[in-house]
Amino acid sequence: MSTEITTDVVVIGAGPCGLFAAFELGLLDLKCHFIDILDRPGGQCAELYPEKPIYDIPGFPVITGQQLTDNLMAQISPFAPEFHFNRMVNSIEKQADGSFRLETDADEIFHTKVVVIAAGGGSFQPKRPPVENIEAFENKSVFYSVRKMDDFRDQDVVIVGGGDSALDWTLNLQPIVRSLTLVHRRDAFKAAPASVNKMKELVMEGKINFLLGQIGKLDGENGQINHVHLITDAGDLSVPATRLLPFFGLTMKLGPVADWGLELNDNTIKVDTEKFETSVPGIFAIGDINYYPGKLKLILSGFHEAALMAQAAKAIVSPGERVVFQYTTSSTKLQKKLGVA
């Protein structure tokens, strides 16, 4: 049975702009639920560059993506937003009363008055290697993650990549597969050295194969591969395979957002610059995913957009209520909400 959740605001995307939106919305007494495809908050800051220094956050001469995420999480903690990780919003439907019904791929239904899309460049999806016709085999014999180990039992498995995912699954799947070939373009690995050493031991023991190369072409029919053709320095090579696991990391795709009936501009959502509302009243878009004349994809711009969006969201959730603009430095009311007064 689906889980049903009712709230004021659903924020799609827990990157820096989405997180800060919970602060601005919280000051106005609006309750937030976050939905994010990653397994932790931070969005691009956490996934793409947690250790990279950022130099253009006002008030911080230098801060890393992870530090910024941690600070934002601390900043919004008084408002206790709720997080739903590892899921994607599949659909948004406007209801007769003006509210929205959202469905996720984790069988949840959210009833909310306001939707804030803060999804950056879209949702993170596994990178598809540029191999002709690979789509035809996906989810049948080509997988980008291991959901059920049993799908790989007694199979001839080819794993591609040199990072932790590739090495971890090489080690984990080896005991149950019929054969396993690890393919990587060079003899150097980003993965943890301990895993690399274990993998090399397995190669020495003849339990797995390691080949230097890249995927060229896939053979098979009806979604079932039977051979993986590799391009290697020593020429082309064909490896019998019934399962392929390419691990090339994640990339951002607009995903289902494109099907929600919002006016788009290229791969971004059109908004106005007063409320940052989309072409559907009640659905807002902030941060890298929105578009308006003069738009700059900067975290600081997303923060500004969050503040203005929150005012408009308040007017939807509490129609007719007079909102007095206040500063956190002087308002005891706001300070009480923050737990500092």
Binding site: L48, Y49, V131, V160, R185, Q214, F248
Partner: protein, 106 residues
């Protein structure tokens, strides 16, 4: 300075570059099909290009960190570079690169 870029469809473009800009930024600014999703932070490989053989020595080899990032694309060749790591300078006037399929937005 001019950079010659061949796009994924094989079309050639002569783009004006400015000293100090990254080649990725020039390609993006001219609206060619380059995802460059991390914006030049050397945290993805979606600005992947092949450097023309005649220019390899001038451009130089990728750093270790850049080699690591190249692991995340499936179409690496011996002349692969990330265009965010190539800085425009007079020495590179006339540089020729080809956009890799893995740099495409889709």
């Amino acid at each position: 300075m001019i950079i010659h870029v061949t796009d994924q469809q094989g079309e050639n473009h002569a783009l004006e570059g400015l000293e100090g800009w990254r080649v990725m930024e020039v390609i993006r600014d001219w609206g060619l099909d380059i995802k460059a999703e991390c914006g030049g932070a050397l945290s993805c490989a979606t600005c992947h290009v092949y450097v023309d053989k005649d220019w390899l020595d001038v451009v130089g080899a990728p750093s270790d960190e850049e080699e690591d990032m190249l692991d995340s694309v499936g179409d690496v060749r011996s002349n692969s570079r990330l265009s965010c790591q190539i800085l425009c300078s007079d020495a590179l006037d006339g540089l020729k690169v080809t956009l890799a399929a893995s740099a495409s937005k889709d």
